[in-house]
Symmetry: C2
Subunit: 194 residues, 2 copies
């Protein structure tokens, strides 16, 4: 179960069994049903989640009650409100399970403790932060520049397994189109690629 | 001149004079006139720039030759093509000086060397990466959700000194509105805040 985390750590740094066991003691296992809120607006002490099983989304609700999806996460991905987590402020977005999920949760304090105790864990978290930064930068370019069709193709590239895993209206919210528009696009693209 | 860099480093970590002098040997000073390209699409071996003097922008040119501004940078800020820098791939965006600039430039290899040699430099770069990631996430929320007026107000909050420093059409490109629209907004907001 924690093998997924170990594999991700060891894709960047090397660890002894003892080190990994010690690192793992800083995480808490969380099992939730689908449509559970892991994080809600206004919450303090925001943790970061590593996905073992299931699919989640982070989203923002605007003043017209419209949901805008920021990120999806599947096994081997991390998800949280990064701003609230890093700045130790209250959450301004929601994190919710789309399916039943199994997660490893870590607090900011424990993440900083690991980064301080092990230079290599500091390195690991820096590499992951860089990757998150790059993905966010990519998404900005996508939003600035691409047509809805291209944004859909970007979504398929970014989350190749998702189209079959999650309800289409989540994808419509991520891309910023209506469900009807998405259904038409999905048909065209799927015909095209299959 | 390098005091700005030292102050930024020491806002996060502590350094002896000897350590700072050593760190500084990994940077190269660059002085460029306004409208100089520091980075262009297709370029290999992308460096990262710390701004000592002047203002720069990073931007993307779409297939209709339209420029979309991703980021501005002023003294005490960093700027590069983060994707190309971190992944050691060729640049897909431009970085250009808006005014005459003085910069400290560091290669990926030298940044990684410093991060490896000093745990505290690894920590410094992780903290900066987190901050960049958070800012990018904020910008995505802005783009998903806000009206052009709110995007302009976000710009003013993010870059409070810029409205007087750089030509208005740069700001219009960042927000994604026409110059005429921006002039009208700037008038309203300035009347409102002064």
């Amino acid at each position: 179960m924690s093998l997924l985390l170990r594999n991700q750590l060891e894709s960047i740094i090397s660890l002894t069994d003892q080190e990994f066991e010690y690192i793992l003691t800083h995480f808490t296992i969380k099992r939730v049903k689908k449509k559970s809120l892991l994080l809600q607006v206004g919450q303090q002490n925001v943790s970061k989640f590593f996905v073992i099983k299931g699919v989640l989304k982070s989203y923002y609700i605007d003043k017209n009650d419209k949901e805008h999806i920021l990120q999806f996460a599947e096994p081997d991905w991390w998800i949280t409100d990064y701003k609230a987590f890093f700045n130790e402020t209250e959450a301004t977005i929601y994190v919710e399970s789309i399916t039943d999920c199994e997660l490893l949760s870590i607090t900011k304090k424990d993440l900083e403790k690991l980064a301080k105790e092990f230079h290599k864990m500091e390195h690991f978290f820096r590499v992951k932060s860089n990757a998150g930064y790059v993905a966010a930068q990519e998404r900005i370019i996508t939003m600035l520049n691409l047509t809805v069709i291209e944004r859909f193709e970007y979504f398929l590239k970014m989350y190749p397994n998702f189209i079959k895993k999650i309800p289409k209206y989540h994808i419509a919210s991520y891309i910023g189109v209506s469900r009807e528009m998405l259904s038409r696009m999905a048909k065209n693209v799927t015909n095209h690629t299959e």
